[in-house]
């Protein structure tokens, strides 16, 4: 589902965000991406969501070669990649419902279909009763769940999460993780960047470790050898 072949990302000024990184993630996998701050976790996720483009090497997502994807196709690619951020990136002048509905509005669905799907997604993350609230009235954990509902409401095959539990206490983090496991159970491919080592050690999933812009460890490779 996600293929990196010798991918390098060099920023203007010469700093390398990623150096020669290669890995494959199969459809339906749930993978953790970890490493110190500045190791390149965010850069890697940005390459998948086409927020940035690789300098060298090939990135393929869901059969598409992102290296050659034209600007006009980027929006259609992003509709197939749900993205979750540490800072939620919600719109604070709109209700929870309207925030979650955005990907469907953008895709041009009719409003009955939108209502049905948004409520299903909000129900999934346990916020159905707060659909009319403004995000600012919600707690941090609830806001993160709104962000998650928005990322999955259009049922994308791939979901990326950048430090989704960064500001949450352990209990809330576990709650979020169990949500991700539920999505994974229905076939969604997940790539979750986090530096919460304690949390991911308990999850017993594949782990990619970035160190100084290089892929230092891939737990799947260790199992195979």
């Amino acid at each position: 589902m996600i293929h990196f072949d010798n991918v390098t990302k060099r920023y203007p000024g010469g700093h390398e965000g990623l150096s020669n990184v290669s890995f494959h993630i199969e459809p339906g996998e749930m993978v953790f991406l970890t490493g110190h701050s500045g190791a390149g976790k965010s850069t890697l996720l940005k390459l998948i969501g086409l927020l940035e483009r690789s300098t060298r090497g090939q990135v393929r997502v869901a059969g598409r070669n992102l290296t050659r994807l034209g600007r006009g196709q980027i929006p259609y690619h992003r509709r197939e990649v749900g993205m979750i951020f540490q800072d939620h990136r919600l719109l604070y002048d709109r209700t929870v419902f309207d925030n979650v509905a955005m990907p469907l509005v953008v895709a041009g669905l009719g409003h009955i279909e939108i209502g049905r799907r948004v409520r299903a997604a909000l129900d999934k993350v346990g916020l159905l009763s707060k659909e009319k609230n403004l995000p600012i009235t919600l707690s941090g954990g609830e806001q993160q769940r709104v962000g998650i509902a928005r990322a999955v409401v259009s049922k994308p095959p791939v979901v990326l999460a950048d430090e989704p539990t960064g500001n949450l206490d352990p209990a809330l983090s576990r709650e979020i993780m169990s949500l991700f496991e539920q999505f994974n159970d229905v076939g969604v491919t997940l790539l979750i960047a986090t530096h919460d080592l304690e949390l991911i050690s308990r999850m017993n999933r594949r782990i990619l470790v970035l160190e100084k812009s290089r892929l230092a460890r891939d737990s799947a490779a260790e199992v195979m050898t």
Partner: protein, 323 residues
């Protein structure tokens, strides 16, 4: 690669899966939503609208004024007349003789005599110098013949010929063809017309800039929204749409306020102009903005607003990329 891209757009392109009515519905929603956004900030919307309105009201008002002046001068075209001022020593009797002689001229339709006595009487009544005139020993005013040529002699060239012929009369001190100043007047209105076009172009440009700048600020204010919409796969067309509607609304409301300003100004001018026209024994009436002119004004202003926002959106939307 080619195939995968095709497959991609077939699967998720909105157009292919959307029916026309849904698409129209979306546009209507976006149009109403951007209208609602304008109404939610009434003061700043009103100010922008008024600025556009003033910029448009100036050329619209001048255009209208020019049109009125032209209809006014149109009335004079056929009535080219020649004024013959007779010599001081010409008696009223001689003047009457000349009048009847000219009446028989085949080139002349009608001659009106204002004798020295009549002229003095009229002057006494209208000028308020009655006392001064009484103290004069003799009448300082000459007799005046107003000669109206027949239709075919009213054209510029034969009228000039007639003028030259009338000058030959020994009683005539000074002959003047009124057509001349009608012509000069036409030349002046042509210049004014050109001026209105230039002014309209400049002010149209300013409307473009006003709307462009307003939309630029709006784009800055909605930076976060644009960024997030791009993140979740909003196309540029989708993001552009509300701003374009916004510009079109500004244009339309600006046009309406321009129309209101011009109409109110005309109402204020109507009474004094009627009085002035009355003084010239003219039934002239100021005509307002007609339906077709109104449509032109509103259509033009909407297009200007749309174009202004198009320029702003084209320049600034690409600068916002999610990171």
């Amino acid at each position: 690669m080619r195939r995968s891209r095709k497959k991609l757009s077939a699967r998720i392109s909105p157009r292919s899966s959307l029916r026309m009515d849904v698409w129209l519905m979306r546009h209507l929603q976006v149009a109403l939503a951007s209208l609602g956004r304008l109404i939610r900030t009434p003061l700043s919307s009103l100010m922008t609208t008024l600025v556009i309105g003033i910029a448009l009201a100036l050329p619209a008002g001048l255009y209208l004024l020019l049109g009125n002046v032209q209809t006014l001068s149109g009335n004079w075209d056929g009535a080219a007349s020649i004024s013959l001022f007779l010599k001081q020593e010409t008696s009223d009797k001689q003047a009457r003789q000349l009048t009847s002689r000219l009446q028989n001229d085949p080139a002349i339709n009608q001659v009106k005599l204002i004798s020295r006595t009549e002229a003095l009487e009229e002057f006494r009544q209208l000028s308020g110098f009655a006392g001064v005139l009484d103290s004069l020993d003799e009448n300082p005013l000459p007799s005046l013949l107003i000669v109206e040529p027949t239709a075919q002699h009213a054209e510029p060239v034969p009228a000039e010929a007639l003028l030259a012929r009338l000058r030959q009369n020994s009683e005539v001190e000074f002959a003047q063809l009124d057509l001349q100043w009608v012509r000069r007047f036409h030349a002046i209105t042509r210049i004014a017309q050109r001026g209105v076009i230039i002014l309209a172009s400049l002010l149209g440009l300013s409307v473009l800039l006003i709307v462009g700048n307003t939309i630029r600020l709006e784009i800055q204010n909605r930076h976060a929204e644009i960024e997030i919409t791009k993140l979740i796969g909003g196309t540029n067309a989708f993001i552009r749409r509300p701003f374009l509607y916004n510009g079109a609304w500004y244009g339309l409301f600006g046009g309406i306020s321009a129309w209101l300003m011009v109409t109110v100004s005309l109402l204020l001018l109507d009474n004094p102009i009627e009085q002035l026209a009355g003084l010239y024994q003219s039934g002239f009436q100021l005509s307002g903005i007609g339906f077709s002119t109104l449509l032109m004004l509103l259509g033009g202003s909407t297009l200007l607003g749309l174009a202004g926002s198009w320029i702003a959106v084209g320049r600034h939307l690409n600068e916002i990329e999610p990171s």
